[in-house]
């Protein structure tokens, strides 16, 4: 097993507010990691820092042995860390097909290659197979803004995975999804990613999802990681039970949908 991501003493503060402190994480290849914690615990801040959306106040982020701290998102993406978003980031007024076509084109081309046609048949074929892999082929020609929440989430993740990234970070893939659909959704995602042996870190509130898909858990509380352990251990950890699962578990059961909508 080789280390792909190593985060050391990561700090982030907005003025007086400390959003993250003493974050130390080591991620092995092909791991599936769940990130849990109450709202504002620092989960998204962590993802944002690793993917370059936020610049850490201090600390190290090493990816494949290279320090990527402070690089802009596009460079980190090119290096092999992609992400999806709690609020799906898609080209809203374009068709699902065109969304992915653009994703592939950007992934394929650099330099003068950018001046080759956006639409070519080979690429179209790959787009369509990608659509099938994420089981959204039926929406191929629908405008992104009209998609149901679940499908839009899938499209968002599909676009993120186009580059076959080494690491894929998913920010609450199931938020805003009704309890019934959650597992189908996660099955699709995980199956698709397994084919590329992608290392996955995803933020999740629903402990059942965590139990089912994740081998290891990072539990955040007030900007710190209070527990980093295999799932089984983590879920019985007193700290986690007190600060994370307690109300969280309850919350996801009852009003996950509403709660997430307010957030998105």
């Amino acid at each position: 097993m080789t280390v792909v991501l190593e985060v050391r003493d990561l700090q982030k503060s907005f003025g007086a507010v400390v959003a993250a402190k003493d974050i130390n994480v080591t991620v092995q290849e092909h791991e599936i990691i769940g990130i849990i914690g109450a709202n504002g615990a620092g989960k998204t801040t962590f993802v944002n820092m690793v993917t370059g959306y936020l610049k850490p106040t201090s600390g190290q982020i090493e990816f494949a042995g290279r320090n990527i701290r402070g690089l802009p998102p596009r460079d980190i993406t090119c290096l092999g860390i992609s992400r999806s978003f709690q609020v799906p980031q898609v080209f809203a007024s374009e068709s699902v097909f065109d969304n992915l076509l653009m994703a592939y084109a950007v992934a394929d081309q650099t330099g003068l290659g950018l001046l080759s046609p956006l639409h070519d048949d080979a690429r179209a074929v790959r787009v369509d197979s990608h659509l099938r892999r994420y089981q959204i082929a039926e929406y191929r020609d629908a405008t992104a803004s009209t998609l149901p929440q679940g499908t839009r989430k899938l499209l968002d993740i599909a676009m993120a995975s186009v580059r076959k990234p080494t690491i894929l970070m998913l920010d609450e893939p199931t938020s805003g999804i009704s309890v019934e659909e959650k597992f189908d959704l996660m099955d699709i995602i995980m199956e698709a990613l397994r084919q590329d042996q992608t290392t996955v870190l995803f933020i999740e509130h629903d402990m059942e999802i965590v139990e089912r898909y994740v081998s290891r858990v990072l539990a955040f509380y007030q900007g710190e990681i209070i527990c980093d352990a295999p799932t089984a251990e983590a879920l019985v950890d007193p700290g986690v039970r007190e600060f994370v699962i307690g109300e969280e578990y309850h919350r996801t059961r009852t009003n996950n949908g509403a709660g997430a909508d307010a957030k998105s």
Binding site: R74, V90, F91, A92, S93, L118, R163
Partner: protein, 318 residues
């Protein structure tokens, strides 16, 4: 491509029609046509920016810069149209490239206004330069074309062909460019920069490219205008109201098709000419009124008329 590109065909036919028309057109019609081509070229640049989600209220900066660059060469006794227009275009392009590093950081109204600020600085510089005739500007002698020095009406006739050829090349070029990955990124920037960044490309780079292009064509339009009018002056080439006219034409034309910008420019010229002829006291009233009417009743510009002709369902708005 599997199919023949209808827009290219359309542009080519329009090109041929106008090319032949040049020989029987009434002089004033040709003159209006010439101006429409020049202004249309500028609007084409704005169209590319618009598809990227940006509007500039200051492209008179590049229009005027191109015009003055070309005109100043004539003061140094260079008169070849190819040289002058090339110089004007290039000069504006370089300026756009430099300012682009700052401007690509802005969006929306801020982008629009920062452009205006720079255009007004150029305006001030020209007004302050008595050597260049300040607000009077100075006149530009009739150009030669690779040694051929036409006289009288032939000047306009030749210049029209000259302009027509280049605008045709530029327009087809833009149309094809729009179909490339880089061209397509206009959509990506307009729709969602964050996603584009996380797909691995810089939105600012995309904007910078488009911006330089818009500067180049604006400079081209300016240089052509300088030769067509035989005069450059800041008020009709670098003032903010001129930038307003370009946006006017862009909106008039709509985002639908690259060829539309020239039709938009023509319509603009005709409205202004007739308002001026029939209502000298209230031509601004008519100009403004027709612009309002377009905004209210033809939100996608006159091109949407064409689109409606062929398919009843409304075209997608930008």
């Amino acid at each position: 491509m599997r199919y023949v590109d209808k827009t290219v065909v359309g542009l080519s036919i329009a090109f041929l029609v106008l090319f032949c028309a040049d020989f029987f057109m009434a002089e004033w019609v040709r003159f209006i046509g010439l101006q429409s081509l020049a202004r249309g070229a500028v609007a084409l640049g704005l169209l590319v920016l618009w598809r990227t989600g940006l509007v500039s209220f200051g492209h008179a900066l590049y229009f005027g810069f191109g015009a003055y660059a070309a005109a100043m060469l004539t003061l140094l006794d260079y008169h070849d149209a190819f040289l002058l227009v090339f110089a004007g275009t290039l000069a504006a392009g370089i300026l756009a490239f430099l300012l682009g590093f700052l401007l690509r950081r802005y969006r929306a109204i801020f982008f629009a206004l920062l452009n205006m600020a720079f255009s007004m600085i150029l305006y001030g510089v020209i007004v302050k330069t008595e050597e260049l005739g300040s607000t009077d500007g100075f006149s530009v002698l009739a150009p030669t074309f690779l040694g051929y020095a036409p006289k009288g009406e032939a000047v306009q006739t030749t210049l029209f062909i000259f302009t027509l050829v280049f605008t045709y090349i530029i327009t087809v070029g833009v149309h094809l460019y729009m179909k490339t990955t880089l061209g397509g990124m206009s959509m990506a920037v307009r729709e969602n920069e964050i996603r584009l960044e996380y797909l691995g490309y810089s939105a600012e780079k995309v904007i910078h490219v488009k911006y330089v292009f818009s500067g180049l064509v604006a400079g081209f339009g300016g240089a052509i205008m300088a030769l067509a009018i035989g005069q450059v002056d800041p008020d009709s080439m670098a003032n903010w109201t001129v930038s307003g006219e370009f946006v006017f034409i862009t909106i008039l034309s709509g985002i639908g098709n690259v060829g539309a910008t020239y039709i938009g420019a023509l319509v603009f010229e005709l409205i202004r000419t007739y308002a001026f002829e029939f209502a000298p006291q209230v031509w601004q009233f008519i100009l403004g009124g027709s612009l309002l009417a377009i905004i209210m009743f033809l939100p996608d510009g006159i091109w949407s008329l064409v689109s409606r002709l062929r398919r009843p369902e409304k075209v997608k708005s930008p």
